[in-house]
Symmetry: C2
DNA sequence: ACAGCGGAGATTGTATACAGGACGGAAGTT
DNA sequence: AACTTCCGTCCTGTATACAATCTCCGCTGT
């Protein structure tokens, strides 16, 4: 698993997967947004740096209008923030922000799991998510392709829990917290694979998936909620481990936007 | 309390308070957004109706550019949705959406309360929120001004719990769910005052506020979370009562965007 | 009568021009 | 030497022009 040799953190196939789109690609503004987001996550801009529109015209190859649109959308996503006097600047995150963002995801996914348990009609509804779980169990995790596949399955699994909750509003809020690059379910998965204890972490994660489905199936809402929260905290523990190795940290998307204050955490 | 005589639901002083701004008023796009949001909440457009830009130019008195901006912001807020082929249309909500939106607020405010309890440093930090609580306790609730004051205090109280959580990320998510008009803490308060059992409901609400502060002060995170969730469910019970009276329902901002399906609820 | 097709009008997405304001540097004053 | 003030440059916000595309209506053919 822990390949070690080449630490191809900037492998585009991996980062691209993390990057949710949620926009039409076949429009200037959509392309501008995706391109700009990729630049931001790749670390082409410093946190706090002001993004002027004119330089972006040359860099992205589109007019100011779609760039304005892209900037505003990214501000809504949370990667940028508007400055009071006008314009936008790159947002700076600290470790507490990431910590709390993952906690928020855990809370919302916990709610999704609880609602899924409370609202489950026929156990047949769980067939799709059971299928995802079994596919993840049988993923070998020895090649780059199997990693990408695992990340896809993981994203799909978490989305499926949201679907079982049968609440558009919840899915909406969940999508919102996931827009932050390091709060997505698979954000830490790739970095995790580089850790020494990677194998153990994957086993724990799968065990939590299993327990979660069991709780939902047996309509144990409170247990499902607790398990989903704990599952998100596994990502936080990953983060904790990843912090010790700068090389691995750079695998986390948007790591360049993190400001490390002297106090390690809290 | 229950004035009954004049049911001035469209009293602008009240609706204006519900409408969060979060934008600069002294710009064309900011004004366009506020004006358009007011039109939407007042029910000037049908759910599902497509909003073309040109008619809005005449109606709002600004050019297409700021209108485009306002439309996009309102889509992010959730009042509009973009149609795949281009443009925006008024979003339609059903009762389950409102139900779940309030539940989501409860979950996030519950998390805020838990974090507030877990992260409370010195009990002195609670002086401001204690002050708000006492002011609410002594509010008479017999005049329109006292209502407005109560709603302000209520909003401030809920915001203060968020501040105590010391988590910008949580405040961000909380702000997001509150953008939906009927999910704000004070959305149901005004309509509630028209209910027969208004006095009892206010007493219950105040009691919950009191218990919440006690739990936070004694660092009882789990209890604080449960109380905050239950407090939001009081708003849901208000909604349930309000639904029985069409006249009172129209006091809820954005009520005209609600589609009532044959199944009353769930 | 109904489905498929075509064209005209309307509407959005994009580019660009213009104006007002913000920021920074330089010069003058205390 | 430091502070203030003024001016120039840059930048954003706004308006508008243009083009591509979508929608809707009427027409025609089966």
């Amino acid at each position: 698993m822990n390949s070690g040799a080449q630490l191809d953190c900037s492998a585009p196939s991996v980062h691209r997967k993390i990057c949710i789109q949620m926009t039409d690609v076949d429009s200037q503004s959509g392309r501008a947004m995706l391109k700009l987001r990729e630049l931001l996550l790749r670390g082409d801009f410093h946190p706090g740096e002001r993004l002027s529109e004119l330089p972006l015209v040359a860099r992205l190859g589109v007019s100011r209008t779609p760039i304005r649109l892209a900037l505003q959308r990214l501000a809504h996503e949370g990667l940028l923030e508007m400055v009071p006097s006008g314009g936008f600047q790159v947002r700076e995150f600290n470790l507490t922000d990431i910590w709390d963002a993952i906690e928020m995801r855990g809370v919302l996914e916990g709610t999704a799991a609880r609602l899924a348990a409370e609202r489950l009609g026929d156990p047949v509804e769980m067939r799709a998510i059971r299928d995802l779980q079994q596919q993840m169990d049988t993923t070998t995790l020895d090649t780059a392709e199997s990693f990408a596949s695992y990340m896809d399955l993981n994203e799909a699994f978490h989305a499926a829990v949201g679907d079982l909750a049968k609440s558009p509003m919840l899915i909406r809020s969940l999508a919102y917290v996931k827009t932050l690059p390091f709060a997505a379910p698979s954000a830490m998965v790739y970095a995790r694979s580089k850790l020494p204890k990677a194998a153990a972490l994957f086993i724990i994660g799968q065990e939590q998936h299993h327990g979660l489905l069991e709780a939902i199936e047996q309509r144990q809402g409170s247990r499902a909620e607790a398990l989903a929260r704990e599952h998100a905290r596994l990502a936080r523990r990953n983060l904790e481990s990843v912090l010790s190795d700068q090389a691995i940290l750079s695998c986390v998307p948007g790591a360049s936007l993190i400001k490390f204050s002297r106090a390690a955490r809290q």
